[in-house]
């Protein structure tokens, strides 16, 4: 059932050669004649009213070609679920990275100087940085006009709570009262960051009324819509092109500076380039992992039946909604987890603060909530004297089981992942007393979305895919030639991809939600099938055989069993004249459930084709210092059928290492005013090559609803890593660490609290 690891196949990703030779161009590598350089002026306060902006000195500085504020732009607010933000601060600044004005100049140095010459007069307002205290009566409001903003009809907002959600199943209060044992836990996760190694860059160039924006975005079509909306121009007049993208991890989702740079370029009447420094990349993007305060309460029978779950989650939204309006609801689902629980009552509050806005970062909310919940589950197991793996064996979902909102699951391999992971890690073996193994289980939904693709056959028998899909580096788009090659009997090295250019391909959601293979792949395969049909029809006619007797193989249509009777695809294309296909495929529908009792339904109240993961971590803890080394992680995943083993493995290897960082060292530290104290890589610590643990990967494969039976792959690897490490640490030190990241100091402090 579990597949074994194989070496990468002899196929070279299309963008590979340019990436290893240094000739590939990322956005910051682009340059145009006459190009000016953009710099932003940021807020001088975390929360303040703008009384006056004087740009005259900046405009007078030689070399400055444009200075822009919101007063120069249409009066339009944007935001995914709540429209709460202007491109430039209009009247109030709400976090330290808020953009007050933009400047373009002939050099970066002049632009930076000009940005500082802009005079801004403020009236400071009370700062709300504590996202739990933000809900208290009398707390200063981040958005006093929230009620008047445009918003999604299912958003339930009040005070500083931008979105309130519940998941309700049965009668949790009554059931809790009747449980044998009730366990309560409190966990708090700090904010953290996606940290793609490429900082964001945007270049904009106008030709008449039409603007081309080159951007390091994961979501070019979202960026296009955002530019069109904020500048009030038709989407048809906005072309977004993504050069090579240097990683995203969610941090490059949503509209990010494309609108501002396009506006500045229009004012400057020349191409303009913005390149963020690492510090800006930390502070000003509206995509970081949110801090979460989590309270869990579980009622359980002595034999390990989960009777009831109550949970209260409070999430730090930061200053603006962006695309992150759904975070509370997603977190609520993760507070249930892939478990069978009779009665559930979960509340989630997504609160505005004067902190950096939070948004999607690789499996948004899931790693933090899973880290809390899976420690809570180990506490539940301890409370009834059961091995934590045994408790999970009794309570994980299976085919036919009901989810938190009574969706009924198809075949899912979560129990297989549990058994596989503990086998790979050697769960029961004896270890030195400073080492231990912890286990955590998590889940993540597939995101159904439309996509469209074209495939054209070229005269020499090669093929070209045209797709709106975005290649963030994972290889999901770069693997498409393999699938098309398989459909058409063409060497995948002879299949090229035109991608991430909004003017040439149909709309695509972008590289977010682990959806590229799931949705873009479905569209591309549908297009390939159209081409396949055309080739087979023509071959049947040319070779005068029944279509059913033909196969496409080795660049030819040939009669099965008689390789001599064949016709080259190149010749077939010549005969037909033009061969091209288009496709989108049928978008799978989210499962129905009983969601009537749930508040704030934004679409995540059921999970389509959940991806399921068990990871087991073997750690070594230096009790005297609290320093934790992760020696090995065993990762067993149900992502449906795996279409590209090397690519899928790569997602797990990278995701687990990112997860170890989240567990141990990656946390954004804020001061009382919501300002970041460690916005650089020396004190926001990513794992280095020498810190990365041994990782063993296994896939549990059952057919699912995606193309060729696939689900998604990219986000789940990070979901349970921190939880598994946490449970291992607690076994060594005798106490759970209640704050994420579990830094040496926090582990050391927790160890000292153990009595005796």
């Amino acid at each position: 059932m579990a597949t074994v690891e194989t070496a990468p196949v002899g196929f070279v990703r299309q963008d590979g050669k340019e990436k290893v030779t240094g000739t590939g161009r990322y956005t910051a590598d682009l340059s145009f004649t006459g190009m000016a350089h953009a710099k932003f002026r940021y807020a001088d306060h975390s929360h303040a009213k703008i009384l006056r902006i004087d740009t005259s000195k900046a405009k007078a500085l030689p070399g400055v070609v444009a200075v822009l504020t919101q007063h120069d732009l249409p009066d339009v607010r944007y935001g995914g679920f709540v429209q709460d933000r202007y491109l430039f601060a209009n009247d109030v600044v709400r976090f330290e990275g808020e953009i007050v004005a933009g400047v373009a100049a002939l050099t970066e140095e002049i632009a930076a100087e000009a940005a500082q010459l802009i005079e801004v007069e403020y009236e400071p307002l009370p700062v709300v940085s504590d996202f739990v205290a933000a809900m208290e009566p009398g707390a200063s409001l981040v958005h006093p006009d929230l009620g008047a903003y445009g918003k999604d009809e299912n958003i339930v907002a009040a005070g500083n709570t931008m979105a309130y959600h519940t998941i309700v199943k049965g009668e949790a209060d009554a059931a809790m009262a009747g449980a044998d044992v009730v366990v309560r836990s409190h966990y708090v996760s700090d904010a953290s960051q996606g940290v793609p190694i490429e900082p964001r860059a945007v270049v904009a160039h106008w030709q008449g009324d039409k603007v081309t924006v080159w951007s390091s975005t994961q979501v070019p079509y979202v960026a296009r819509a955002g530019v069109a909306q904020t500048l009030q121009i038709p989407e048809a007049n906005v072309r977004v092109v993504v050069p090579l993208l240097g990683g995203g991890f969610g941090a490059k989702c949503d509209l990010h500076f494309e609108g501002q740079v396009a506006a500045i370029a229009r004012a400057a009447n020349r191409p303009v380039r913005l390149v963020l420094s690492r510090e800006e990349e930390f502070k000003i993007i509206a995509q970081r992992r949110e801090g979460i305060d989590m309270e869990f309460e579980t009622g359980v029978t002595r034999d390990g039946h989960l009777v009831a779950r109550r949970a209260k989650l409070v999430l730090d939204k930061g200053a603006y909604c962006g695309e992150g309006g759904f975070l509370g609801q997603m977190a609520a689902m993760h507070a249930c987890g892939p478990y069978q629980i009779d009665h559930i009552s979960v509340e989630a509050y997504l609160n505005y603060t004067n902190n950096q806005p939070s948004g999607s970062v690789r499996a948004p909310t899931a790693p933090q909530v899973c880290w809390g919940l899976e420690q809570h589950m180990d506490e539940v197991a301890a409370a009834i004297g059961m091995d934590p793996v045994d408790l999970r064996r009794r309570t994980l979902i299976e085919e036919g089981a009901e989810g938190p909102t009574r969706q009924v699951f198809d075949k899912v391999g979560v129990r297989d992942t549990l058994e596989q992971a503990i086998e790979m890690i050697g769960y029961a073996r004896e270890l030195p007393d400073d080492e231990a193994i912890g286990v955590a289980v998590g889940w993540w939904p597939c995101m159904p979305a439309p996509s469209g693709a074209y495939i054209q056959m070229n005269g020499d028998g090669s093929a070209t895919i045209v797709t709106g899909a975005q290649e963030n580096g994972s290889g999901a788009v770069m693997a498409m030639p393999i699938f098309v090659g398989q459909e058409l009997g063409v060497d995948p090295n002879d299949v090229s991809v035109v991608y991430q250019d909004t003017d040439v391909a149909p709309w695509d959601m972008g590289s977010c939600g682990s959806q590229t293979t799931f949705n873009s792949g479905r569209a591309i395969l549908a297009a390939a099938k159209e081409v396949r049909e055309q080739l087979l029809d023509a071959a049947a006619e040319q070779l005068e055989v029944d279509r059913e007797d033909l196969e496409l193989r080795d660049g030819a249509a040939r009669v099965k069993g008689s390789p001599d009777r064949s016709m080259a695809i190149a010749d077939l294309v010549g005969e037909i004249g033009t061969v091209h296909g288009k496709g989108s495929g049928e978008v799978p529908e989210a499962p129905t459930g009983d969601t009537g009792g749930c508040v704030g339904r934004l679409g995540n109240e059921t999970f389509l084709a959940p991806q399921l993961i068990t990871q087991a971590a073997h750690v070594k803890v230096d009790r005297a210092t609290g320093v934790v080394r992760v020696l090995k992680v065993a990762a067993a995943h149900d992502s449906g059928r795996i279409l590209n083993r090397a690519g899928a493995d790569g997602q797990v290897l990278g995701g687990v290492v990112m997860g170890v960082g989240l567990a141990l060292s990656e946390g954004t530290i804020l001061d009382e005013e919501g300002r970041q104290r460690n916005p650089h890589l020396l004190d926001y610590k990513l794992l280095t090559c020498s810190d990365a643990p041994e990782i063993e990967v296994a896939w549990i494969e059952y057919d699912s609803v995606g193309p060729r039976g696939a689900k998604g792959v990219g986000e789940p690897p990070q979901v349970p890593t921190a939880g598994a490490i946490a449970n291992a640490i607690s076994k060594v030190i005798g106490r759970h660490v209640q704050r994420l990241p579990m830094t040496p100091e926090r582990v050391w402090a927790a160890a000292r609290e153990v009595p005796g």
């Binding site: 400073d434 070594k620 230096d622 005297a624 210092t625 320093v627 080394r629 020696l631 141990l664 060292s665 530290i669 104290r677 460690n678 650089h680 020396l682 004190d683 610590k685 794992l687 280095t688 090559c689 020498s690 810190d691 830094t743 040496p744 100091e745 050391w748 402090a749």
Partner: protein, 299 residues
């Protein structure tokens, strides 16, 4: 002021440029990084000293070893003489930054940067190194505890340039070690560091030097720790007393890298580990270089 850059061919060229206000740069690892982080802008006038001949030598004599100001961390790590005779210094240079930092970063730049977190500082201090500063008016030797006057400040005059560090030969029977608290295995800056240099004769510790790093405004020795060890046979009680004294001598700050309480507690842990490893080395036992990751049992 307009920016200028000169590359000095000789020490005197460098001194002459400095007399006209230029700031020296060798590997550039501290100066340029500091400017990029916004700590201090790059000086308008820069004199590069990396081409000056004869400053990148490790010269051993009976009295000790002389490290030219341009000796890199990589040079120190690969010097067998340093590894055997001044092991704590090799421990320290081996864990500075990354391989690129070790290839480009110089001991002179390191010492003159006067960071209280510099890894090589504790070992140099314990070995009794002196800095030779040269200016147009002559040369003088300064002990390191007189050179470092505060975080990032030295007693060197603006016209003085570090020529070399002279490190006396440790007594026979000495062993030394530098360890630091490391959150990651590489790319770290000392949050807490400790150095121990011990001399063992006939089973007894006849001399001990202990220094703490990143725990006081300048790296300093801890006489109370040294006194606790001297005359003992390196037993647990003596080591514990020395470790506790190091914690007691610490006046750490609280910042994003750790609280004062944690740092103080780690001062004891690091000091204990440094002493134990130094004793082991003094007695002929083997502790890998760098000692730091090995002491955590990292593979």
């Amino acid at each position: 002021m307009t920016r200028s850059f000169t590359s000095a061919a000789t020490f005197d060229d460098a001194l002459s440029a400095m007399a006209h206000g230029a700031r020296p740069v060798a590997g550039g690892t501290d100066l340029v990084v500091g400017a990029r982080q916004g700590k201090a802008p790059l000086p308008d006038a820069i004199v590069a000293i990396d081409r000056i001949g004869g400053l990148r030598a490790i010269e051993a004599s009976e009295d000790g070893v002389r490290l030219g100001t341009l000796v890199t961390h990589a040079d120190i790590i690969s010097s067998e003489h340093i590894r055997t005779g001044y092991t704590a210094l090799a421990d320290a240079s081996a864990i500075v930054g990354s391989h690129a930092t070790r290839a480009q970063g110089t001991i002179g730049g390191n010492v003159m940067n006067a960071s209280p977190a510099m890894d090589t500082g504790g070992p140099l201090l314990c070995f009794g190194a002196t800095a030779t500063l040269r200016s147009p008016s002559g040369e003088r030797s300064v002990a390191l505890d007189e050179l470092w006057t505060g975080p990032g400040t030295t007693s060197a005059r603006p016209d003085e340039l570090l020529l070399a560090l002279d490190v006396p030969t440790p007594a026979a029977g000495s062993g030394s070690c530098y360890v630091r608290l490391e959150y990651r295995r590489q790319m770290e800056i000392a949050v807490v560091g400790a150095t121990a240099v011990v001399t063992v004769e006939g089973g007894r510790v006849t001399d001990a030097r202990v220094a703490i790093t990143a725990l006081t405004p300048t790296i300093r020795r801890v006489p109370e720790s040294e006194a606790a060890l001297a005359g003992s046979d390196g037993d647990d009680a003596a080591v514990e007393a020395a470790a506790a004294a190091a914690a007691g001598a610490s006046t750490p700050i609280s910042d994003v890298r750790g609280s004062a309480d944690y740092r103080r507690a780690m001062a004891a842990v690091m000091t204990r580990r440094a002493i134990i490893a130094a004793l082991k080395r003094a007695r002929g036992g083997s502790v890998p270089i760098p000692a730091s990751p090995a002491l955590y049992g990292a593979s």
